[in-house]
Structure formats: structure tokens, C-alpha cells
């Protein structure tokens, strides 16, 4: 334990540390003026998409605090087709969450099979009366406007099932297309072999207007004698699926164009990666929404989203332009204002695929080890650093080999 130092040195060091901070920028966030930058997964408030609710009561039953209140009644739906059977369905009368009881565990959102419940990072709904923390259906519906799109997953993650299906389907289509082309031209097109990860994920493509249904599917299902509700819900999802595919195909086409053997295209920033300083709003959208009689809060939230969307598009365009000029890291080019001075990892090794797996974690880099020991570092530190150095070298080797091949 090398903590003994001549008397007074410790005292002087204490003074040095504190005086150093006197001249640094304070880390205070001026909360009401400066909005916290909350990640999209933040569990702030639960939002309800009541169209999706089928009154299955799973959330209310699974809630550990029993703070969800649901009332419903049954309605008879006339047969959709002449000669069909009349069906009953549940109609949601009341859906309320008592946030004074809620413990924000997220089980209700997790269990909801129809995606009717969502987490929103909004948190400013404190009340003077505890009764007012009981949010009814309408209030919960309003929170829906503040639900952010889910973040993309880390490299190496298995894409969500819906996205995976779409990707597989798309790949099949592309293969078929390639096969068709192969008939025309001799060598198979490279497009089919394109890495799957570069493809736009279907889940990332947000489809607007969940109310529409795919009429074709609907008619077919009704004809098959399915209930009106099931048919509608399936048709709805079919519509969404189609839309997503369409959008994904468009994006795919766009990326495929850019992928003309150019490295820069791979570095093109995806919209979600571009960080946009929150807080500003899109005045145009705001005015328009206010004019439409929306509440100030909602208008602000929507306008904020609109602003972020626009900025992202702009930044992405800028960064793309930068990437063509040979900029190595497109995301870093985005102006991230007011970031406190932290040691930026600018000189990070450029190719950094975390999925290059290096076997044999026991080896160490002898050179680094000897050097660190010589520098007087402890055996433990030297070993751990040398190990890391070894892994780094191995990775670099693998990457280099891959590049050569």
C-alpha cells in the first residue's frame, strides 16, 4: 500500500485538486432552463395507444402494485358479410394508471401483447393533489405524442423478430432478382452478397398513420370467416408491414446506389446516430399546431420532434458531404455544441468492429508487459494492460488480413 508520503504533500495535493476545479466549467445542469438529455428508453411516464388496447387485462393483472384500472363493455358487431355471424368485442371505457402507486417497473409495457403501452421519457407531471396523479385514458393518450422511436441496437445484436423477417424476405427477393439478372448477364450480381447489417432495418422505419388497414387482406380474412376484430388488426399490421417494406425498399435502393464500391458510403451517418441538441423547436410546425388548437405542451413536443427531424436530415447531409471529402468519422463532424471539455477519443483506432472475436484471452503482450514493469507499474496493472494490448494487436492483425483478402 504505497500511500505514505511526506507530511504536507497530501495537504498540498488536496488544495491543488480543488483549485483546479475552480477554473473548470461547473457540471451543473441548469434544469428548468436547460432540459435534461434523456435517452429514449427512459422510464418517465407510461403512454397509452388506446386503439391498440383489446382489454385483455394482462397489464392490470401483472402490475405488482395494481395501479392500473380498466373498465370495458361488450359490443355486438353486426356481421360484416351477409349471412355471417354477429360478433362481440370489448370496448375500452376506462383506462387509468395511478402514478402515485406506480413503481415504474415497466412490467405492463413488457407484457402488453398489442403494443398499446409505451414508455415516454417525459417526467414533469408532478401535482399538488395526489389524486391528480391518476391519469385517465385521454391523458395517457396525450403522452403517446412524446414517445420517441426506439434506439438502434448495439453491434452484434440480433435484430428484432419483425425486422429479421423483413430482412430475410428482402434478401430472398434480392436473390431472386439477382438470379433473374444472372440469366441476362453472366456473373451473379454482388448486391445479393451485400452484408445484411448495411441494410435499413425495418423496425427503424417508422410508419405514420396506424389507423389504415390493408383492404385486400381484410377482405380475404373476412371471407375466410375470421372475426371482424381479428381481420381488422391483421389487416392493419399487414398495411404497416407493406408500408415498411416499401420504405425499406426505397432506402435500400438509395443505399445501393451510393454503395457503388465507395468506402464513403459505408460511413454515411444513419439519421438516428446524428446527435441533435434538443431544446429548440420548429417554429413553423409549432405555429401551425397552435393554430389547429392543440395544447401548448403538445405543440411544443411535436415541434421539437419536427426540429430534431429537420436538423438530423441536415446534419446527415452535411456529414455525407464531409465523408466524400475523405472525413474519417462522419458522426464526429456534427456540431455538438456546449459539450463540456472531456478527453475526446479522437485518436481512436479507426476500424473498430467489435465483432472481430479474438480467441485466447490468457495471452499477454510481452513487450508491453516488460515496458510497464520497467516503468514501475504494479504487476497486476501491467498484466492487465499487456493483455489488452495483445487483444488489440490480434484484432488489428485480423482486420488487416481481412482488408488484404
Amino acid at each position: 500500500m504505497a500511500t505514505t508520503s511526506p507530511p504536507g504533500v497530501g495537504l498540498a495535493k488536496g488544495l491543488a485538486v480543488t483549485i483546479k476545479h475552480l477554473f473548470r466549467y461547473p457540471s451543473t445542469q441548469m434544469y428548468p432552463k436547460q432540459r435534461p438529455d434523456l435517452p429514449p428508453r427512459t422510464r418517465g411516464v407510461i403512454a397509452l395507444m388506446d386503439e391498440n388496447c383489446t382489454v385483455c387485462m394482462l397489464c392490470a393483472r401483472e402490475c405488482p402494485d395494481w395501479c392500473i384500472y380498466i373498465d370495458s363493455h361488450k359490443e355486438t358487431v353486426p356481421p360484416a358479410k351477409e349471412g355471417g355471424r354477429a360478433r362481440t368485442r370489448n370496448v375500452l371505457d376506462r383506462f387509468a394508471i395511478d402514478f402515485s402507486l406506480c413503481m415504474y417497473c415497466g412490467i405492463c409495457v413488457e407484457v402488453c401483447p398489442f403494443d398499446a403501452l409505451w414508455w415516454s421519457p417525459e417526467f414533469e407531471y408532478a401535482e399538488f393533489q395526489i389524486d391528480d396523479l391518476l391519469h385517465e385514458k385521454e391523458r395517457l393518450r396525450e403522452w403517446m405524442d412524446t414517445v420517441p422511436p426506439p434506439p438502434m441496437l448495439e453491434e452484434g445484436a440480433v435484430p428484432p423478430a419483425e425486422a429479421a423477417d423483413a430482412i430475410a424476405k428482402k434478401e430472398k427477393e434480392l436473390e431472386a432478382e439477382a438470379a433473374k439478372q444472372a440469366e441476362v448477364t453472366a456473373p451473379p450480381a454482388e448486391a445479393a452478397a451485400a452484408p445484411a447489417e448495411a441494410k435499413p432495418r425495418t423496425a427503424d422505419v417508422k410508419v405514420e398513420g396506424a389507423g389504415e388497414i390493408d383492404q385486400e387482406t381484410y377482405d380475404r380474412l373476412i371471407a375466410e370467416g375470421k372475426s371482424e376484430r381479428i381481420a381488422r388488426s391483421k389487416a392493419k399490421s399487414a398495411w404497416v408491414r407493406k408500408q415498411k417494406e416499401k420504405l425499406a425498399a426505397e432506402q435500400e435502393a438509395a443505399t445501393a446506389e451510393e454503395r457503388g464500391g465507395d468506402e464513403a458510403a459505408a460511413a454515411k451517418p444513419k439519421a438516428a446516430e446524428v446527435h441533435v441538441e434538443a431544446g429548440e423547436i420548429d417554429q413553423e410546425t409549432y405555429d401551425q399546431l397552435i393554430a389547429e388548437g392543440k395544447s401548448e405542451r403538445m405543440a411544443r413536443a411535436k415541434a421539437k420532434a419536427a426540429y430534431v427531424r429537420k436538423q438530423r436530415a441536415k446534419l446527415a447531409a452535411d456529414a455525407e458531404a464531409g465523408a466524400e471529402d475523405g472525413g474519417s468519422e462522419a458522426g464526429g463532424g456534427a456540431p455538438e455544441a456546449s459539450t463540456p471539455a472531456e478527453p475526446a477519443d479522437a485518436d481512436e483506432p479507426k476500424p473498430k468492429p467489435a465483432d472481430v472475436h479474438v480467441e485466447g484471452a490468457g495471452e499477454i503482450d510481452q513487450e508491453t508487459y516488460d515496458q510497464l514493469i520497467a516503468e514501475g507499474k504494479s504487476e497486476r496493472i501491467a498484466r492487465s494492460k499487456a493483455k489488452a494490448a495483445w487483444v488489440r494487436k490480434q484484432k488489428q492483425k485480423l482486420i488487416d488480413e481481412g482488408g488484404d483478402a
Binding site: 480543488t18 483549485i19 475552480l22 473548470r24 461547473p26 457540471s27 451543473t28
Partner: protein, 368 residues
């Protein structure tokens, strides 16, 4: 008998001319009291604001920002809040002692401002015995603290009060011994006289004017540490020790009485800093040997025009704040010592060193 009283009174008559002295005696008294009170209520606020801000920035915070421009009125806002709070007196407390204690602690702090010179002619009184008076009065505060600790009927408060008593007795001694050395060197107990003596003090054999900080750095260090301990400032805040004794002798106090104790602490910080400025840092002199513009008297520090007077006041307050900054810095950087460690430090280190310092100064005074 009357002669004696009269002659004693004569010695208390001001030596140097003060801007608060007028031909009318009654007017002079009113102005002097108003002046001392004004100092007492304004300068600690500046010190308090400095503490808030510096402490905040050193701790990666911002300090107060909301009340007034840059949070300058935070302490005023705090004061208003304290006044509004309910004044709770514990049922088992000794009510009269409990109520009187904050006043007993506060008033001595106020009285010292009567003799503090903060600029050329800017003081209420220049007592012949100024230094003696200041040190004597300042040690009365501990009575208020012990009264509060005892009267609260709370074991934490009692422990805090007793710790304060022990600590203040232990640190009074090095404080006085260090101050005596200055008086010996200056040859006067008058605070204005000490400033004057420093303005004319030159290194033996040369014409280089220096402050007493230079020959008596040891004394300054002793005085500084002892002053911090006497004020119960961290790292010597065992009588308060919020994580051990909850809040020591202040545990049961609320509202305005609590604010009075706090004001005692801040006022004490200013008093001790001002004494150090006068004793060791040359008063309102900008740099050793540099006369103030517009001044004619000894060392270019007296008989000033309004501009020079104002400059002198600014310089003194600047020096006081620099010392307050040092106290705040120590508070931010260090944990608290233990009571017995503190006592050992006083009796085994500070007091012998202070005696040594006094002896050295005495010898030097005779030799040169």
C-alpha cells in the same frame, strides 16, 4: 477617584482622526454606531457570497445563481427565510439562557467592528488599546456558544458546547501570543498605529519597506490557524461537526436565532481576516512601500482625499476577501480533525511555536 475615571477615559479617546468624527458629540456617536453596524452587516455578506461562489466552483457546481444578479442576494434571501421560520424552544430547555445565547455570541463580534480600521481614517474609533480590546472582546463569544450548548437540553448540543469551550480556550492562547509579537514589534496596541508602524518599517540596514508578514511569517501562520480554530471553521469545526453531533450547539436552534449564530461565524471570519490584514498585511497599503494616491501622511497612507480614501477601503476589503478565500479553500479541501488531535496540535505545536516566535521578535527588537 474622578481623576482616575477621567484619565482612563482620556486613554480611550481616538488618536488618529476618523471621518466618522464630527464637532457634535451626539452626531459623532450616532455616525460611529451606524458605521460599525453597517460594516457588520455588509462585509460578512460579501464574505458569505464569496464563500458560496468559491465553494460552488471548487466543487464543480455553480453556487447561487437565482437570487439577484449572479446570486448576489442569496444571503439576503436566506436571512428573510430565517426570519420567517418558527422559533422553536425545546420544552426541556433553559428558556432564558437559550434565548440569550445567540445574542451573547453575536454582540462581541459586532463590538469589534468599532475598532477595525478599513481605510485611511475609515474607522469608528482608534483605541490606544485597540488590539487588546479586539482580542478580549472576541473571546466573549465562546460564552454564548457554551450557553447555547448547555441550555438546549440536548446531548449533542452539550457535547458541541463543551468541545467549543475546550477548543476556544486552547486556541485563544496561540492567537494572543502571535498578536503580542506584532504589538512588540510595532510598539503600540493601537490598530491604526500598527498600520502606521508597518508603513514605516524597513528591513534593518536597508530602506526596503516590508509588511510584518515577512519578518513574522511564523506568527501569521499561527494566527491564521488559531483564528480558523477559534471560529470553528472547517477543518476545525468539531463543535459543529454536522456528521457527528448533528449541528453541535446549534442543533436545537431555528429561525432567527440560528441565523444569529451563522452571522457570528461569518462576522468572526471578517473580524479575524481584518485583524490579520492590519497586523501582518499592512492595512490599506497596496504593496509595501507604495503610497496611496492623494494621501500625504506617514508612508503615504494618511490624510487622504476622498479618492484615496475610497481606494484604501477597496484595498482593505480586497485583502480581507483574499484571506476569506484561503479559509474557504481549506474548508473545501480538508476533512475534519478529531478534537483530541486538535488539542494536541494546539498545546504541543502551536503554543510552543508562538512562544518561540515571541522570543525571536523580542530579541530582534532589542538587537536592531
Amino acid at each position: 477617584m474622578m481623576d482616575l475615571v477621567f484619565s482612563t477615559a482620556i486613554t480611550f479617546v481616538g488618536q488618529a482622526t476618523s471621518i466618522t468624527t464630527f464637532d457634535s458629540y451626539a452626531l459623532s456617536v450616532v455616525v460611529k454606531i451606524a458605521f460599525a453596524l453597517g460594516l457588520f452587516f455588509v462585509v460578512p455578506l460579501i464574505g458569505g457570497y464569496l464563500e458560496h461562489k468559491v465553494m460552488g466552483r471548487m466543487q464543480a457546481r455553480r453556487g447561487p445563481v437565482e437570487a439577484g444578479p449572479f446570486g448576489t442576494l442569496q444571503l439576503v434571501a436566506d436571512g428573510i427565510k430565517f426570519i420567517q421560520k418558527e422559533d422553536v424552544i425545546p420544552r426541556a430547555a433553559d428558556k432564558w439562557v437559550f434565548a440569550a445565547a445567540p445574542g451573547v455570541a453575536l454582540v462581541p463580534g459586532m463590538l469589534i467592528f468599532l475598532v477595525l480600521p478599513i481605510g485611511p481614517g475609515v474607522f469608528a474609533l482608534d483605541l490606544e488599546l485597540g488590539l487588546f480590546y479586539a482580542l478580549a472582546i472576541s473571546s466573549v463569544s465562546v460564552l454564548g456558544i457554551m450557553m447555547g450548548g448547555w441550555a438546549s437540553a440536548n446531548k449533542f448540543a452539550l457535547l458541541g458546547g463543551l468541545r467549543a469551550g475546550g477548543q476556544l480556550i486552547a486556541y485563544e492562547l496561540p492567537l494572543i501570543l502571535a498578536a503580542i509579537a506584532v504589538a512588540v514589534q510595532a510598539g503600540t496596541l493601537s490598530l491604526v498605529g500598527i498600520v502606521e508602524a508597518q508603513a514605516t518599517f524597513t528591513l534593518p540596514g536597508t530602506t526596503i519597506n516590508v509588511w510584518y508578514l515577512f519578518p513574522q511569517f511564523l506568527g501569521f501562520a499561527i494566527f491564521f490557524l488559531a483564528a480558523m480554530a477559534e471560529l470553528s471553521r472547517p477543518p476545525f469545526d468539531m463543535p459543529i461537526a454536522d456528521s457527528e453531533l448533528v449541528f453541535g450547539y446549534m442543533t436545537e436552534y431555528t429561525g432567527i436565532k440560528f441565523a444569529m449564530y451563522l452571522l457570528t461565524e461569518y462576522g468572526g471570519m471578517i473580524v479575524m481576516s481584518a485583524l490579520m490584514v492590519v497586523l501582518y498585511l499592512g492595512g490599506w497599503q497596496l504593496l509595501p512601500g507604495v503610497p496611496l494616491p492623494g494621501c500625504e501622511g506617514t508612508g503615504g497612507l494618511f490624510d487622504c482625499d476622498p479618492m484615496g480614501t475610497l481606494l484604501g477601503v477597496v484595498i482593505t476589503i480586497g485583502k480581507i476577501m483574499a484571506l476569506v478565500f484561503l479559509m474557504v479553500w481549506a474548508r473545501v479541501a480538508y476533512p475534519r480533525l478529531r478534537e483530541d488531535q486538535l488539542q494536541r496540535f494546539a498545546w504541543l505545536a502551536l503554543i510552543p511555536l508562538a512562544l518561540l516566535n515571541l522570543a525571536l521578535v523580542g530579541v530582534a527588537k532589542v538587537v536592531f
